[in-house]
Symmetry: C2
Subunit: 353 residues, 2 copies
Amino acid sequence: MPDKVRIAIDAMGGDHGASVLLPGAEISLVRHPDIEYLLFGHSDVVEPLLAKMPVLKAKSKFTHTEVSIRMDDKPSQALKYGRWKSSMWLALDAVKKGEADVAVSAGNTGALMAMSRFNLKMMEGIDRPAIAAIWPTLKGESVVLDVGASIGADAAHLLNLAAMGSSMARVLFDIEKPSVGLLNIGVEEVKGLEEVREAGQMLREGQFPHFDYQGFVEGDDIGKGVVDVVVTEGFAGNIALKTAEGTARQFGQYLRSAMNRTLMSRLGYLLARRAFRTLREKMDPRRANGGVFLGLNGIVIKSHGGADSEGFASAIDLGFDMVRYELLAKIGQSLARDRAATQTAKQASGAAS
Amino acid sequence: MPDKVRIAIDAMGGDHGASVLLPGAEISLVRHPDIEYLLFGHSDVVEPLLAKMPVLKAKSKFTHTEVSIRMDDKPSQALKYGRWKSSMWLALDAVKKGEADVAVSAGNTGALMAMSRFNLKMMEGIDRPAIAAIWPTLKGESVVLDVGASIGADAAHLLNLAAMGSSMARVLFDIEKPSVGLLNIGVEEVKGLEEVREAGQMLREGQFPHFDYQGFVEGDDIGKGVVDVVVTEGFAGNIALKTAEGTARQFGQYLRSAMNRTLMSRLGYLLARRAFRTLREKMDPRRANGGVFLGLNGIVIKSHGGADSEGFASAIDLGFDMVRYELLAKIGQSLARDRAATQTAKQASGAAS
């Protein structure tokens, strides 16, 4: 376990910029005094803010750069003007050079992914990156991946997702052998996308000492917390994640308008306000802010662009945990062992066919 | 507008069978006295129930059959033992023969779809069926399709879904020109599945007088009610639907446990109980029960297998509306006109490339 955690921050990312991100960094620093920050951004923006935040300033090393990535540029455009010099690139580069243990950005997702791949490169045996989300469930939390790094996935990629996701669940939830499910549109073996069925067969038949494969799960099983890790390709995963966010907001709005309708309901709300606060905290999307980029030679955390300081602090906390409990090393170990298991399974199914 | 609506009921479907379905049929009959039922099922089960329900019995014609389809059989198995003679088949066959205007079943989805295709056949110009769901939104309701009839969709099929879904929205919501969005993982034109991008281009460039194409929508836009019709292929659509159902249930459970925690919160609940009832009704999945099979030469409604009587009544109500407002004829008209528009768009893009 490292005695300090060095976190590189792209201080120019997100919808609100440094004035929201730096207070977020300070919140996380108070919770984790062994953080050291490397901040990247424009001095005109960052230095005046830092001057007012002595606690943060004392634990930060600031690097000025003129260039920051716009939120709505295409990845190719961002790479063109932002490579080597933007605040996003420099934060990733600090991880690459070993000066930071993790990079956190609230910036343009596509650009961050493209720069991460370009700079950090993929881990051995992984072709494509994934974004893992932490999903609040009735039982606690689950890891869901991929939620949008790439579209489509063959069976081998789905197996890699199972290995990476279960490593992350082991680190986050402190479970020796996380349970894993494949997202599908039915629990029967004959249903669903061909790649999903193929991955299901390999997972059933192979030996995976790191996780416990439970079979197919459906959309409504995610929120129940039926498994610790839900594996899916990025198109369906992104739609599932955003649909759940939308439904949660919808419910919140129904609840607010119901409680505001009459004098009696407003009075009832006042009496039960602590219960409502608990509920709000449970449903607070800021608690689970932060997607983890997996499959790269380095840890990168993507915060929601619209996150406030509390939300950005959650994303930093997540990065802190990933470093502290050595996610990267554990993923590497899992992949190596699972690769051996997959080979065995492939040979077995090859011999059988 | 037909003066009576003849509804064929598979009385043996669902998790709970006729003892739940027949009371549901009676609920819907009370709401719509111009319904006439054709009931198909085993006389040992159905007749004793009917004897206790004189209102329903007076408006029903019962046909006995020994065979009913099990909930967990594969479609191929169900076809083998259930074709020509099961309660499910006979309900569909009544539509085929013109004796009923719509068939409603709470039975095995895969079997119902397979039998529907086999018996009713696809509409001209439609290769694959779709299931359309009615999705409660902050603005009212939207039609979402396909939610699981088939996996994957090329651009042409997505265009057919837009035509069929907008016809259904016109019938259900009484909107002259429903708005249509394509479900994707980003709103930018360059993002997402290739087929979705291709369909997006055709929809942007073609002339579709029946609906108003609004571009890509994301998962969280569905619950906002951004468009009247959300078009997606069946894998992602099914996962979106089930994830939303799961999230709604999750929220309900959080709310219940929060309100039960302390004396004050229970008291608050009592004072606000009418507000909570409104909320419960808004979130009640039974209100929006019933998937509509589209693309067939006949209307088939699939109720949730686990629906109670009230839920099954909603599915029948939906079938009633579809007949009363002549869904099938309107879909036929839309498809014919849109086909002309698509041809024009194809020729234009063919000429441009």
